[in-house]
């Protein structure tokens, strides 16, 4: 294990140190005193585990391919932007536009998230991304969703746990929301249904991993029912054009 002190370090220098450590074959890196540095793990391709102490800046794990990053506090915007594989675990809250165009890997957030989380996620038979949010989410959750798995738990929420325009423009993938879903909050392209047995297995597998990462009890999380959200049409705008 190697420790890198990020105090007062420019992001470019910090990332260079991380890449050098990875090239040396380090399997465990701890970044101490991180304070808003952008692009941690950006484009990084390796099987390495990185622990972030302090609050990292935007675009953490952008285009990342393989590493596991654990953030022991809150995180900011654009985490896992177009990420290809690997895992990001956030023990606190996180900001807006998480997992934009995400193609694979996992993003586990313990707390709340902001607007437009999980937008335009992709996926196919080869790979697909998973985002699990423990707290509440803002508007446009899962917008333009084209693939992958998006799970919203609202573990602390008494009231509505998700904002408006849930899944608007959705044309692929699956969203699970713990508790009830107000149909008025959903985009027109979304159908709300009860999960079947296969769905529950998918959920349980995903959540078991999430709970193990964040020290939660799976039974507690599964104690409440889920709703499944899927696109009603593969071509939501097929009739929009005259010729």
């Amino acid at each position: 294990m190697v420790k890198i002190d990020a105090k007062g370090t420019y992001y470019r220098d910090l990332n260079k140190k991380v890449r050098e450590a990875v090239e040396k074959g380090e399997k465990e890196i701890v970044l101490e005193n991180v304070n808003g540095q952008y692009y941690i793990g950006d484009g990084l391709r390796a099987k390495v585990s990185i622990t972030v102490e302090g609050v990292p800046g935007n675009d953490l794990a952008a285009f990342m391919d393989g590493p596991t990053i654990r953030i022991k506090s809150n995180a900011q915007d654009n985490i896992s932007n177009t990420m290809n594989s690997g895992k990001v675990i956030i023990e606190g809250h996180a900001g807006d536009v998480l997992g934009y165009g995400m193609r694979g890997g996992k993003l586990h957030i313990r707390g709340n998230v902001g607007y437009r989380v999980g937008i335009h996620m992709k996926g196919d038979k080869r790979q697909g991304p998973t985002i699990i949010v423990g707290g509440n989410a803002g508007d446009f959750f899962g917008e333009y969703m084209a693939g992958g798995l998006l799970i919203l738990l609202g573990l602390e929420g008494d009231g509505p746990i998700v904002g408006d325009y849930l899944g608007t423009g959705m044309h692929g993938g699956t969203i699970f929301v713990r508790g009830e879903v107000d149909g008025n909050m959903c985009g027109a392209e979304v159908g709300v249904m009860e999960p079947d047995e296969d769905d529950m297995k998918v959920l349980k597998d995903a959540l078991a991993d999430y709970c193990a990462d964040l020290g939660l009890k799976l039974e507690d999380v599964m104690a409440k029912g889920f709703k499944k959200l899927v696109p009603v049409s593969a071509r939501p705008y097929g009739n929009l054009y005259a010729y």
């Binding site: 654009n78 335009h120 084209a146 071509r235 705008y237």
Partner: protein, 502 residues
């Protein structure tokens, strides 16, 4: 009962005496105009788009495609397309789509600009017998360089120069994605780019594995849909382009119809087969110049600092926006003008939003010079470049290079019929139907595109020779060598060009 109150645009006709019933027209038409009626070829002229595929493949020259003489009453105010679109909208409630750049008769500034030539006082140059330099480097140019003596005693740069893209001719192939055009059409572009020492741009549909061998002649694009973007992709080409907008449809997103998403396209884009590929109107991680900077550097971090281009549509405030793009760290600003092509755009957007490339280019070049940052980024001008004269005029207005899309497709058989969005292109260009794409043999058609670039190269050299200069660098931003004809003083002022005769 009538089929539609919008009469067919074209009449496909067959000379029944000449016709030998070989059925080649039926095979060749991607639109289903022709069918076999047992003893003769039947014609559904409503479906005809005048792409001329049948005409060229009829061995007896029996086919003629006419503009339908039965049109709405001629009216100087209510144009044919106004009436036609209203009728279509009344029938469907939908938005009329279109392909290609706008064909409306707005003033074409390129056609009101003329290039200078040498007479008596300054010798012209004969490019066939004297060296003529068209080579162009795209990228950030340092405002100063430090030189030091190396260990071997030779002088060298003290700091590494910013990365550059080398072009043998100041022309690139504009972004056209796999999905909007066929893989064979992309192979034509890639083959010609390699042969001509220039680059093609993948567009936003990802990079098919067949194109990987051409990586030294490819710019990869990252757009709002993030299709096919992974670390391999970002590092696959010589540069990465962030697409913010497109001249044919400024401010709106992309929408590749499900008909054009078969398995291979779906795999490359990583979306379900047969869904519409949606590109959001904005990139939702970019709401400001600061956010743009964030994505530019996210890409630079992921690619060990490859050049990053930012493509925008030419809009009213383009000069200030371009200044912001340069300050955000872009190495190249790609300006796409009002006439720029598209595979699919609502015609109301294509025909009424944005500004022409000539105005935008002049305004951006001016602004970057005034701010002292013109060297910080190269400018690519695109959106309706039709000939080498347009290339020369664009370069004189301030472009480092131009992008051509439509012109390249025309070498592949395109007749600008404008129906790219249907996925039925009989020439195999803007379709994914295997029986149609198989027609476009990449080797055969690459030869034609290479010919075009070579022809334009010769013409550009002739123009430079007439101007008495032997390097394209001397024409760059050299508006003194342009004159305006029939342009008002405001326009001349924006273009920074004198009227002819002065």
């Amino acid at each position: 009962m009538f089929r539609s109150l919008a009469p067919p645009e074209y009449l496909a006709t067959i000379d029944r005496v000449k016709c030998i019933r070989c059925k080649r027209c039926i095979q060749n038409c991607g639109w289903g105009v022709y069918s076999w009626g047992g003893d003769k070829v039947l014609i559904d002229t409503f479906k005809c788009v005048k792409c001329l595929r049948c005409y060229h493949y009829c061995p007896e020259e029996a086919i003629e495609i006419k503009d339908n003489p039965t049109r709405f009453k001629q009216n100087a105010y209510w144009g044919y397309n106004n009436i036609r679109n209203i009728k279509k909208q009344a029938e469907t409630g939908g938005i009329p789509l279109t392909g290609m750049g706008s064909d409306l008769p707005y003033t074409i500034l390129f056609d009101n600009l003329l290039i200078d030539a040498c007479q008596v006082t300054n010798p012209s140059i004969d490019p066939l017998r004297e060296p003529m330099e068209l080579r162009t480097y795209l990228g950030k140019k340092p405002s100063s360089v430090k030189i030091e003596k190396g260990k071997d005693g030779k002088l060298k740069l003290a700091e590494p120069a910013p990365p550059q893209i080398k072009l043998e001719v100041p022309i690139i192939f504009s972004p056209m994605s796999y999905g909007s055009i066929s893989l064979n059409a992309q192979k034509v572009l890639a083959t010609a780019a390699r042969e001509c020492g220039i680059v093609m741009n993948t567009g936003e549909g990802g990079l098919h594995e067949d194109l990987v061998p051409y990586r030294k002649n490819i710019i990869v694009q990252v757009a709002s849909g993030r299709f096919g973007v992974n670390p391999d992709y970002l590092n696959a080409g010589v540069a990465v382009e962030i697409k913010i907008g497109q001249g044919a449809k400024p401010g709106i997103g992309g929408h590749l119809p499900g008909e054009k998403i078969p398995l291979e396209v779906a795999k490359t884009r990583m979306i379900p087969v047969g869904t519409d590929a949606l590109s959001p109107a904005p990139q939702h991680d970019i709401y400001s110049i600061e956010d743009l900077r964030q994505l530019i550097y996210a890409i630079k971090e992921a690619t060990n600092y490859k050049p990053v281009s930012v493509k925008i549509a030419a809009v009213h405030n383009v000069a200030a926006i371009a200044s912001g793009i340069v300050r955000a760290g872009a190495d190249i600003v790609y300006l796409d003008g009002f006439r720029g092509g598209t595979g699919a755009a609502p015609s109301i957007i294509r025909d009424h939003l944005g500004i022409p490339i000539e105005h935008a280019l002049a305004a951006v070049d001016d602004r970057l010079r005034q701010e002292g940052i013109r060297n910080e980024a190269s400018i690519i001008a695109a959106g309706g470049i039709r000939s080498s004269a347009d290339v020369a005029k664009a370069i004189a207005l301030g472009a480092d290079a131009v992008g051509i899309g439509t012109a390249a497709l025309i070498t592949m058989g395109c007749t600008t019929c404008g129906k790219c969005y249907t996925g039925n292109c009989s020439w195999g260009i803007t379709t994914q139907r295997p029986e149609l794409t198989a027609r476009l043999d990449p080797e055969v058609y690459a030869e034609r595109l290479i010919n075009l670039i070579h022809a334009w190269t010769h013409e550009l050299k002739e123009i430079l020779g007439a101007l008495g200069i032997n390097s394209i660098e001397s024409l760059r931003g050299n508006r003194e060598r342009l004159r305006g004809v029939g342009l008002d003083s405001f326009t001349l002022d924006i273009l920074g060009v004198k009227p002819a005769g002065r």
